[in-house]
């Protein structure tokens, strides 16, 4: 005796809220957001720094403020949300098993599902950093939660590995709270975070950024005593003789984010090996019909504004799926979007050109830092788009908007690639 609802949104962070709001506004009122935390807002609740919302609200907001705008919209519409509710599995026919303290263990059957579970941080183990395993090693996001939501500063002498944005933000945050951040080491020869964060989180406080460096040893049996940082060569291999020992009680890791798709696997959804997110079509539908994905569970974004935009599209498309009961107006004509030279992946992976009627966003990340290049979209016979870029960097998501008519004119699969030497 499962409950029946029209749309289940898994996750009440920025993606889930924007998706639910957009589906609601597209006519699907029977929506439930399932949120595992005690409140809506997701990871934004701990991102107390500013820098959110320039695209969406034309002003610069902090994370909680940005989330607050969406929470208000959810509440205004009376969209149902269940906090403290953890979805344990989703079957391919969209039966959701959910557990909570309030309602126990139950199943909910939905006509459509939007996945918006976000991502997790890559832990120390996945980085294979050798050494001891003492207290004092945290992912940057865990430290952020402890500092900003619990009021607990985990340490005083800090080294940060990885220059992802959360790591940079936490370098400043720990400094403001009275800690001494000794260095940020980055394995790659370029930063993993936004340039503005290097300026306002590191340079402002005189915190050195060590590019092409990594942690090669961790000392301390019970509590962290220090770490060894070594320079690495072009194959990311530590160079003997470059070891530097840093005494510290805290090591923060900001070494990448991984979309959380364990639930997607239970629904039989095909995962893209490059994004670690579902393979999605132009409607952000996964390989399981009626299950859509958006936000960081689909691919890791750099800005929440892009998450909100993408989630709104997922919401519209899920609403449309429910309204049209999955019917397509025209016989589908599927083309593939192929990541070419310098491009790690694209979202979407496929486009149904016969039924696409909205502008298509092709989002992707580049493999390397390219200066003076062009983004090329097309195939052997046709060049659809050539967009010159002064610089592209792996830490920033690229977004190419393309008219469906233009895509149709390509007459087949298209490739997105970076052409260098375009000054």
């Amino acid at each position: 005796m499962a409950e029946n609802i029209s749309l289940a949104v898994i996750g009440g962070g920025p993606a889930g809220m924007a998706a639910a709001i957009s589906a609601y506004d597209s006519g699907i009122k029977d929506v439930t957001i399932f949120e595992r935390d005690t409140e809506l807002g997701g990871i934004l609740n701990q991102c107390i720094h500013n820098g959110f919302g320039l695209h969406t609200f034309k002003e610069e907001l902090t994370g909680p403020e940005y989330a607050g705008r969406f929470i208000a919209q959810v509440k205004e519409r009376g969209i149902r949300y269940e906090t403290g509710s953890m979805v344990l599995s989703i079957s391919p026919d969209k039966e959701i098993t959910v557990v909570s303290k309030a309602k126990g263990l139950r199943t909910v059957k939905a006509e459509a599902v939007i996945l918006a579970m976000g991502c997790r941080e890559r832990p120390r183990g996945a980085l294979n950093i050798p050494g001891m395993r003492p207290q004092g090693i945290y992912t940057a996001g865990t430290a952020q939660k402890l500092v900003n939501c619990e009021g607990f500063l985990p340490g005083k002498e800090v080294v940060i590995l990885g220059s992802g944005d959360i790591g940079l933000i936490m370098a400043r945050r720990m400094t403001l709270e009275g800690a001494h951040v000794k260095a940020v080491a980055e394995l790659m020869p370029y930063s993993g975070g936004l340039k503005r964060n290097i300026v306002q989180c590191l340079d402002d406080f005189g915190i050195p950024l060590l590019l092409s460096h990594t942690v090669t040893d961790i000392k301390g049996k019970r509590k962290l005593e220090g770490v060894t940082i070594s320079e690495v060569d072009s194959t990311s291999t530590p160079i003997p003789g470059t070891e530097q020992y840093y005494e510290c009680d805290t090591l923060l890791l900001s070494c990448g984010l991984i979309p959380e798709n364990e639930l997607s696997l239970t629904a039989g959804i095909k995962i893209n090996g490059m994004t670690n997110g579902p393979e999605a079509d132009d409607r952000l539908q996964t390989s399981t019909e009626g299950i859509f994905a958006c936000g960081n569970v689909l691919h890791v974004h750099d800005l929440v504004d892009f998450v909100s935009e993408e989630a709104a599209r997922a919401g519209r498309n899920a609403a449309r799926y429910i309204t049209e009961k999955g019917r397509k107006n025209n016989a589908p004509e599927i083309i593939r979007i192929i990541p070419g030279n310098g491009v790690r992946y694209t979202v979407p992976c496929t486009v149904d050109t016969a039924n696409a009627d909205e502008d298509i966003h092709i989002r992707f990340r580049v493999r390397n830092v390219y200066k003076g290049c062009a983004i090329k979209v097309g195939n052997e016979s046709t060049e659809l788009i050539s967009k010159k870029k002064r610089i592209t960097v792996p830490s920033e998501m690229e977004d190419i908007v393309i008219k469906p008519e233009l895509l149709r004119s390509a007459g087949g699969d298209i490739t997105v690639s970076i052409e260098e030497g375009q000054v």
């Binding site: 909570s100 996945a126 050798p130 003492p134 939501c149």
Partner: protein, 466 residues
């Protein structure tokens, strides 16, 4: 305090011995320098219940391995220990090595191991499709199994405790003496206790403990082993434990499913002077990776979630050293317990009991309760049973560790029960909160909060381990 038997070391051997002796009318104390049980060799090993074909016939290792293996079915039922007879294979890569497999087969038969057989490549592939392309043949051992070493140790400890054994944790032994009446005084950092009988289960420190009161008669040379643990999504890469041909340094790098569905690779074998040196190394982890690929293909190394190292308490005699000291009567060593120590632990406990019987009168307690019930594992329960438990205790419905789907109720259980968790690692080893793919990134703030509230301490005082 006066005790009949003091056991030094709350690893699997010490705890199994405590549980076995708690059947009798004895005052028992288990002492450990750490704040929790299972903090040494018992927490970082291959988690295998070995079949018993490896040790030379006639050795204690051979005898106690096979005996311990046979005890596991009943023990896992009585003590609620996750255990599965998943089988094992020793693979060889060349025809010329076939003789070595046959040698193992014969040795196994001599040791009393049942069901051993040699499989050719095709037969082996039927059971294990991911065997590497170079595998030529395999020795198959159906009685081999996998176990949760934390829960095994905890289960012994909890059941011993239930039956009256006391535990003194965070107490390092500082000295041992024996008076003219044969009564031992064991000095610890928490004060001295007396005992009629002392049982040394101190793992890598067992020679140091021995030498506190006895003439030196053996030495322990810690041998470090590094491991990699992979995500549960990789757990089905193999169905049974895949060994390589053993060398004198050990059983080589194995590839094994774990009882919780992960994939375990390792261990390396490096002699070390430092008895605290559980650091992983770049070279060691590289070695685990390279060697594991020799026996199994398609290992998704990108799904490593953690790596760790443990120390084997390798003795200089080549065999387990389990005996009452020649001169210091009443002092029993259970030393040199390297592999297959985990498997042998239940049998070692019986062996120790028999020695104790020559020192103290053993009178069975009529109220001994052999049953220990573990913390409910909601994630692996049938839905109806799970729903019912949540109705009874709603905290079982609040998921704290999302990766392993561990609820607030289970974590509370782990902290509240006797010999409960006092640290983050203690919670992790009892209920697996933080053991999954995010490695406690999401759940640790909540678990820190729960530990702080329960113990009435600040966040800063909550410890990861120790």
């Amino acid at each position: 305090m006066k005790y009949d038997a003091v056991i030094i070391g709350a690893g699997v051997v010490g705890c199994a011995a405590a549980r076995e002796l708690s059947r009798y009318d004895l005052d028992i104390l288990v002492i450990d320098r750490e704040s929790d049980v299972c903090e040494g060799t018992s927490k970082a090993n291959s988690a295998i219940i070995h079949a018993g074909f490896d040790a030379a016939p006639g050795t204690l290792k051979a005898k106690l391995n096979v005996q311990g293996n046979a005890m596991m079915d009943k023990l896992s039922e009585e003590l609620d220990i996750p255990f599965r007879r998943s089988g094992a294979m020793v693979v060889c890569r060349e025809e010329s090595e076939l003789a070595k497999l046959e040698e193992l087969l014969e040795r196994g038969k001599a040791n009393g191991v049942e069901g051993l057989k040699i499989l050719d490549r095709n037969e082996a592939l039927e059971l294990e499709p991911n065997l590497s392309d170079e595998v030529y043949a395999a020795l198959y051992a159906p009685t081999s199994g996998i176990v949760c070493p934390f829960e095994m140790t905890l289960a012994f400890a909890e059941n011993a405790h239930k039956n009256g054994a006391e535990f003194m944790l965070s107490a390092a032994v500082t000295g041992i003496s024996r008076d003219e009446n044969g009564i031992f005084t064991v000095g610890t950092t928490k004060g001295a206790v007396t005992a009629k009988c002392v049982i040394n289960c101190a793992g890598v420190f067992s020679d140091k403990i021995h030498d506190m009161v006895c003439e030196p008669s053996f030495t322990i040379a810690p041998r470090r082993g590094e491991y990699m643990l992979l995500d549960r999504n990789a757990g089905k890469t193999v169905n049974c434990t895949i060994f390589q041909l053993p060398t004198k340094m050990g059983k080589g790098i194995l590839v094994s499913p774990t009882v919780h569905g992960n994939l375990l690779l390792g261990p390396t074998a490096d002699d070390t002077e430092n008895r605290e040196d559980t650091a992983t190394t770049r070279g060691g982890l590289g070695n685990v990776r390279a060697k594991s690929a020799l026996s199994v293909k398609n290992i998704p190394y990108g799904q490593v979630i953690t790596s760790f190292a443990g120390l084997r308490a390798a003795g200089n005699t080549g065999d387990f050293i389990i005996r009452e000291d020649d001169k210091v009567k009443g002092f029993i060593d259970a030393a040199g317990i390297e592999s297959p120590g985990l498997t042998s632990a239940p049998a070692i406990a019986l062996y120790i009991r028999d020695i104790v019987a020559g020192i103290l009168p053993l009178k069975e307690k009529p109220d001994f309760d052999p049953i220990r019930k573990g913390i409910p594992k909601l994630a692996s329960m049938p839905a109806e049973e799970r729903a019912e438990l949540i109705r009874k205790r709603p905290e079982y419905g609040q998921i704290v560790c999302r990766c392993e789907q561990i609820s607030e109720g289970e974590i509370l259980d782990s902290i509240e029960r006797p010999l409960g968790a006092a640290t983050l690692d203690g919670v992790k080893r009892r209920v697996r909160a933080g053991m999954g793919r995010c490695q406690a990134g999401f759940c640790s703030p909540k678990v820190i909060d729960m530990l702080a509230k329960k113990q009435g301490i600040t966040y800063g005082e909550v410890k990861k381990n120790g």
